[in-house]
């Protein structure tokens, strides 16, 4: 069998709404993957589902699907795999079906679920403590505040859905790389203990999961990007042996530098990158330049997958707000510091946590980088966090008066009072794979 082409044109919820159309048109893909779920997206979707049992998925996907219908008509074999299902993949799939029906497209849609552990959380806790991976704390301490708890499922249910004839697979939480591993394992009939091939596909999936980031997005040598307006999105051509190429459909292409920067993005130990499918050894791969758009990656070596899934839990953690003001003119930093101090004194209460920073004067690396000289203006940004909503509301109301009652040169206050938002904290944990049942359902 020849190679399998998988393109990813959505690296996060909020990514370009034109990229999937362009990539599908230019790339002639076998599979289009669309990734929507950041670490804490599920908590927001969980609350949406609480308010409306039909909600709780990434609605942007449905808008995208509608725009993709003409391409699906022209490319009837194109398959789509997405985690847009979020907390409600079934509802998302039903709405997707309605869109396809309206366009006269008959597609088998599969729903992958079982990642949502919230319904049986208390039963699970009797055998699986879900201790915090970072702190070792017991989940009992925050159990009543949990709003979502999802296991990162792997590629196997996706492959199963494809084997059942699905051409659109809508999942809840799965590992990002598994969106790529699933179709490759299915297409080539890989064994689920073929660690080297699974590793190859996982590396490919990891490289394309953030979309443009492997195609020149964020590239340190940004001067070499001639036109950011048409930055490329990536596709991978995976061979039956698990080796692959990565190609960009436009822009500066994929090269050694853009590829390595993305290879190590959000990675801990590169010799042990854990996915539900394999322990991938990123230090085993060799890279080869093919042409200005394409790099080849081969010789990936994997180790047996662990017997646990990662679980991402979100829990309520009070309220926060942040506001910004521009302070311009001579001594901008000194004036901003006076304004910040005055604000804290006026509010007159203490907060669980607070932070005042001066954007333009080294805020991104506080204490390490400082602004040279005297910047003509800085942005004062004040952020507060407290368990008591009333305190955060008071802060939000006291922020604006600095426009008339602070130092001179204050401007940039046009967006109104800082918005008070609920904070969801992140609780990473592990759970035995045997405790989680993934589920594949075909929408009839």
């Amino acid at each position: 069998m020849s190679t399998l082409r998988i393109g990813n044109a959505c690296g996060f919820w909020g990514d370009s709404i034109d990229a999937p159309i362009r990539l599908a048109e230019r790339g002639r893909l076998d599979y289009l993957t669309l990734e929507y779920l950041a670490e804490l997206t599920m908590s927001i979707l969980a609350l949406q589902k609480q308010r409306d049992p039909e909600a709780g998925y990434a609605g942007d996907f449905l808008d995208m699907l509608e725009r993709l219908t003409s391409i699906l008509t022209k490319q009837p074999d194109l398959k789509i795999i997405t985690n847009a299902g979020g907390m409600n993949p079934l509802s998302c799939a039903r709405k997707a079906k309605a869109i396809l029906d309206k366009a006269g497209l008959i597609k088998k849609i599969a729903v992958v679920s079982g990642d949502d552990l919230l319904p049986q959380l208390d039963t699970l806790l009797k055998l699986h403590p879900l201790t915090n991976l970072d702190t070792g704390a017991d989940l009992a301490s925050i159990r009543q505040r949990v709003v979502s708890a999802n296991a990162y499922l792997g590629a196997q249910p996706i492959a199963k859905a494809l084997a059942s004839g699905a051409s659109i697979v809508i999942t809840g939480r799965v590992a990002d790389a598994s969106l790529t591993v699933g179709p490759a394992a299915y297409a080539f009939g890989w064994d689920w203990s073929d660690w080297d091939r699974l590793c190859g596909a996982s590396v490919a999936g990891h490289l394309i999961e953030c979309g443009a980031q492997v195609c020149g997005g964020l590239w340190c040598n940004w001067r070499d990007v001639q036109d950011y307006s048409d930055i490329g999105y990536p596709y991978t051509d995976i061979a039956p042996d698990g080796s692959f190429t990565i190609t960009s459909d436009a822009g500066p292409g994929v090269n050694r530098e853009t590829l390595i920067e993305q290879l190590l993005y959000e990675v801990g130990d590169p010799a042990r990158y854990l996915t539900p499918d394999v322990v991938a050894d990123f230090t085993s791969v060799s890279l080869e330049h093919v042409n200005t758009r394409t790099m080849r990656v081969q010789s990936a070596k994997g180790k047996p997958a662990t017997d646990t899934y990662k679980v991402s839990i979100a829990y309520r953690d009070g309220y926060s707000a942040s506001g910004t003001l521009v302070i311009a003119g001579p001594d901008a930093v000194a004036k901003a510091k006076r304004a910040g101090a005055a604000l804290l004194q006026r509010i007159g209460c203490t907060f669980d946590r607070s932070n005042i920073e001066y954007l333009g004067a080294g805020a991104c690396a506080p204490g390490i980088v400082t602004a040279p000289g005297n910047p003509p203006e800085v942005v004062m940004r004040v952020a507060m966090h407290d368990q008591q909503k009333a305190k955060i509301e008071r802060f939000a109301k006291e922020f604006a008066p600095l426009v008339t009652s602070g130092p001179p040169g204050v401007t940039g206050y046009t967006t109104g009072r800082p918005a008070v938002r609920e904070v969801f904290a992140y609780w990473p944990a592990l759970i035995a794979k045997s405790a989680v049942q993934s589920c594949v359902e075909m929408l009839s």
């Binding site: 530098e257 390595i260 290879l263 190590l264 959000e266 953690d317 926060s320 920073e357 390490i368 904070v423």
Partner: protein
């Protein structure tokens, strides 16, 4: 006083978040540059450079196949994506901060700088 250059003269990189932790990949442009990084850019040095941001510890990993060192900076994100009150909640800019680190001009610098085409 020795003349200094920025680390970015011999390396590029990228950073990202993992909960409340951040990773920074530092990628040499040449094998000679990688040898310099291995010998000089220790976890201790990175920890002391970032000390004002209070990482609880710094761990270094090697990826010789791509001429890269990868640093994990634990608990450096002041709460991470969800809880941090900082503008850079996810440590997206930390790689550029590290690459701006002044270093003594290494012997054989001309064999460490970027060679085109990449």
């Amino acid at each position: 006083m020795n003349e200094k250059i920025m680390l970015s003269t011999i390396a590029h990189g990228r950073s990202g978040d993992k909960g409340n932790h951040a990773n920074i990949a530092v990628i040499a442009y040449t094998p000679t540059g990688y040898a310099w990084l291995r010998a000089n850019l220790s976890a201790d040095l990175v920890a002391s450079y970032f000390a004002p941001m209070q990482p609880s510890r710094v761990e270094r990993f090697e990826a010789a196949n791509v001429l890269a060192l990868n640093f994990m900076l634990y608990d450096i994100l002041a709460g991470g994506a969800s809880r941090s009150l900082r503008i850079d909640t996810q440590g997206k800019t930390l790689a550029l901060t590290l690459l701006a680190m002044p270093i003594d001009i290494p012997n054989g610098l001309e064999r460490m700088t970027r060679q085109l085409p990449v």
